[in-house]
């Protein structure tokens, strides 16, 4: 399959403050974005791809001179791929609060002249969607062909469809949920506590101290990783494999391969991810609950929906289980919306949405082909 080849990020500066759900404003901020493919003459072929926790505007393609710099959804997006850049104009935007380029906690607050740190305003899914809409305004795109996202990205796609119903024709929400469960929030909270109670966190102002709360970030990532994988796939990949032929009888050193894997993932993550960003993004996940503005009634929530929907979930995903996607499907059907739903038997748990399972990609390819037929 041909790849997009080299891509270049672009930046946009916004002088107008972004009003946030919390009542605060984000002032004087920059967003980084990438686009792939070509916007057609009537600007009707644009698809916005929303990112989840550990991802960014760099959705597909590679960076010149950088090995292994494929975008996080490169298997899905490119010429001839399910989201075909020969037909679609694809946009990836890094959300504010992230640590991959757009204004975030590690940047200077223009008002105070100091690094934001823990003072970066709390951002929500709605705030991100509003920020993305401003980028589309700048690109002159009045209506998107679709908004696509998985996990937290799927929440953004759903929010788009509820608050900007006239600005999109299709919502493609993968492995997502209408809100986090108590267990989901619980895992987020443990990860946050690990970070916040790391002595190197310094109340979120660690930048001034020249340290990084790596211990907390490692533990947070290890917890995350367990919940991204299914029990089955972890069993198949690692099971009870030992690192050495003989037991070492040690509590502090590695005995099992799964320990080695988790420590590696934690170490790697702690080298590049920002601790305040971790707190902000997990909080945005916790807060997302569009039904809360409709007395908890998801059917009433989706009464404002206008676009067509594709939802997909994975049977072994216990973080955002198929049952949560079905709640959304039911709410859409209650409103007689046009909704397609695929429940895919995949062994990989929540991670499946990033992998190229042929049934999963087959569903997406067919859906995008149908979408492309609408504007050609």
């Amino acid at each position: 399959m041909a790849s997009l080849g080299h891509v270049l990020p672009q930046t946009l500066h916004f002088a107008d403050p972004l009003p946030l759900r919390s009542g605060a404003q984000l002032r004087d901020y920059t967003l980084v974005y990438e686009t792939y493919g070509r916007l057609n003459a009537d600007k009707s072929n644009a698809v916005l791809v929303c990112h989840a926790l550990n991802a960014s505007h760099h959705v597909a393609g590679t960076y010149e001179g950088q090995d292994k710099s494929e975008g996080w959804w490169d298997n899905l997006i490119g010429p001839g791929k399910p989201l075909d850049t020969d037909r679609f104009f694809v946009i990836g935007i890094n959300n504010p609060g992230s640590c991959f380029g757009s204004t975030g906690p590690m940047h200077q607050n223009a008002e105070t002249g100091r690094v934001y740190g823990a003072d970066f305003p709390v951002v929500t899914v709605q705030d991100w969607v509003d920020a993305q809409a401003r980028v589309l305004d700048h690109l002159g795109i009045a209506q998107l062909a679709g908004v696509l996202g998985g996990s937290l990205g799927g929440m953004q796609a759903l929010d788009w469809s509820l608050r900007y119903p006239e600005r999109m024709r299709h919502c493609i929400a993968i492995a997502t949920a209408p809100s986090l469960s108590a267990q989901n929030i619980a895992f987020n909270e443990v990860a946050r506590r690990a970070i916040i109670t790391d002595p190197d966190f310094h109340g979120g102002h660690f930048y001034q101290h020249g340290v990084v709360p790596k211990r907390g970030l490692r533990v947070a990532r290890m917890i995350g990783h367990i919940t991204y994988l299914s029990d089955d796939v972890m069993e198949e990949k690692f099971g009870r494999q030992m690192r050495a032929a003989e037991l070492g009888y040690t509590t502090q050193d590695i005995e099992f391969q799964i320990e080695s894997y988790l420590r590696y993932q934690g170490d790697k993550f702690s080298e590049y991810f920002d601790a305040n960003t971790y707190l902000l993004i997990t909080r945005a996940l916790d807060y997302f609950d569009p039904a809360s503005e409709h007395g908890g009634d998801l059917s009433r929530t989706f009464a404002s929906a206008r676009c067509k929907y594709l939802l997909a979930s994975f049977t072994t995903d216990w973080r955002f289980s198929p049952a949560r996607s079905r709640e959304i499907v039911k709410a859409l059907l209650d409103n007689k919306r046009d909704v397609s739903y695929a429940e895919i038997a995949a062994p990989h748990g929540h991670d499946a949405f990033l992998l190229d399972d042929p049934r999963y990609h087959g569903v997406l390819k067919a859906y995008f082909a149908r979408m492309a037929g609408e504007f050609q």
Copy 2:
């Protein structure tokens, strides 16, 4: 239901070293135990109760002058209760390495004159069972009516039945598994990393520094708690309940009730539980895998079994799922052993084994009544 009333722990000192699986020995150690009911003339009515991570020899009854001092399985054990102390002589023994009285990492190593700390030898389920057998020798009990345990306690009951087949007539193993899965080990490892990387851990020798790695213990307990409860019961008890009427838009303070609950559990645990004990006990869980000595074949493993078995599991227990109990049942049936198995529809997850669900306690009551008929 009448209670046992006040009970008293007893101590036994052992001058003979206990040989451990690791090749090390535990020298000059003390075990704490309790007994309830009366040993009958031919010493045929004794039931040993094995404890799990956060429990001890104090299985039932209360301590004089101490409010809320009920033993951890007081709802099951006492006069007229399912394990009826009017008929059975019940024994609870605190395992070595624990932090509730028996020799553990916070005690002085007689050989060096210093507190053990991280130098306490790594103990296994087999070592604990051997230590328990010595207490029974002291009590003059050649054969137990039964060995009972849940979770890690169930692993000890299974090990008893494999390595001391002549010393027991019944094995009652609840909510347990023939070994931990990769996911189980992964959760243990994250908890251990949280403790070990806490700067107050000091490589396990924090006692000399006058500190306790409370940050790590809190995170470890929070992770544990999530895995003890089912997703459903957490949803029912906490759901998305907020602590205040309005969102606070904060990443560091509590917003949801589930956060408050987890933090409280973590704080409480960090006040009394020993960090080295946590490492030792989770490692003993990781290591337990009797089939590893039989080429991974659980049926061959249980070929040495002689006693009768009762196994029970709970439908919503995702830590030690019913599938794991069924593996044991199958291995026993392959060997034509006498096995009863109850899979109980209970909403509480792994915690269910400590609760008094009437169907669950009904199964145990009936089984113990049958056992009592054998020696009366």
